[in-house]
Amino acid sequence: MANFRIQRYDPEKDSRPYFQTYEVPVEQGMSILDCLFYIKERLDATLSFRASCRMGICGSCAMYINGLPRLACETQATSLATDTIEVRPLPNYEIIKDLVVDLSPLFEKHQRVRPWIIPYELEELDRPTKEYVQSPAELEKYLQFAYCLKCGLCLAACPTMATDNEFIGPQALAQAFRYNSDTRDGGDAERIAVVDTLHGLWRCHMAGACAEVCPKGVDPALAIQLMKREAVFGKKKERARLVDPRCGVTPLPGIPKAPEPTVKRSEGKR
């Protein structure tokens, strides 16, 4: 049996969060997420939390568990080596209900650094005639950072984030570096304009908490320091070669229009 101390907050009833304790028969192999499902199914259906994949891929189940931000589905209950397990919502976000926080600042900041490939030849994007070649060594320059789940743990760990609302944050900064390091990309200048600012790169002072908590080994701290180095010393960007595909390409005469988006993008909202 383990005692789960869980932070509760219902915006319709409570003025501030409080703790509630549940007893869960923990067995070897149960993740914290399994325990939360146990509580929700058998003890208290009003408990809210967010989860989807249960296998460390979607990044939905980020919470603050026994003193560290972690993914609930990737944290084995027995690995905490204690009978009292405290689960709270992620710090540095707004709580919507119980363990559910509003991650929209994370997504908004991610979007701000233009996390997509901005090619040198726009025409080549719309009507590709050739193939980009990238060596394994070139791939490894950014691959590590491409594993980001957007789980938001790193922003919960960051001490700068604790006081600076406007700080772009480790997740988005790491993604700026990921795309800047991609040889297919020519968008450095656009991203530097976003990150080389007052609330950008230079607000990081290498506390390293983001790197410690990242469940995917993305290591945002590494990306940020390397980007600072580039900002100070400059960098020579390698460019991916475009080669003729072996079997030739016949560009489609008329590329059909993309379908209407099913979800409306909330422009202007945060």
């Binding site: 915006p11 590590q144 390091s181 908490a209 390397l226």
Partner: protein
């Protein structure tokens, strides 16, 4: 719908969980930096007593010679030593040295903070030695 703001604030600099020492050095670095700035302002204020003539100067100086002041001076010195040495460590890591290079990650992950930890330990030892030497110089010799 009402939301509850869970931003940690300055509390989040001081303690936010079971992190490595580096996250706490971040806080010490800020505090020691602020302390040094505060001292600088105080220093300018105090030494400007000289404008009001020799007597005023003598009076302020006698005010500043108690044992408490000596301790204060030592704390100031300790702050300066820490801020300088830790600052050097930060400059080294922030310029991308001693933190490793990007590559494929295998579990268990070894992060950049872990890679610079040896540097951090060396710097902390240097700080401790300097504090000891200056302590002996201040209070014993």
């Amino acid at each position: 719908m009402r939301r509850y703001n869970n931003r940690l604030g300055i509390r989040g600099w001081i303690y936010a969980g079971n992190y490595g020492l580096e996250r706490y050095l971040y806080f010490l670095h800020r505090i020691s930096g602020l302390g040094l700035i505060f001292y600088l302002l105080l220093h300018i204020g105090v030494t400007s007593a000289r404008i009001y003539g020799g007597a005023a100067w003598e009076q302020t100086m006698s005010l500043l010679s108690g044992p408490a002041f000596k301790l204060g001076e030592y704390v100031l010195m300790a702050g300066a030593i820490f801020h300088a040495a830790n600052g050097l460590r930060l400059i080294i890591t922030e310029l991308g040295m001693c933190i490793g290079t990007p590559g494929r990650q295998e579990y268990p992950y070894v992060s950049s903070v872990r890679k610079q930890r040896r540097l951090m330990i060396v710097v902390m030892i240097i700080i401790a030695v300097l504090l000891l030497i200056s302590g002996v110089d201040f209070f014993i010799l």
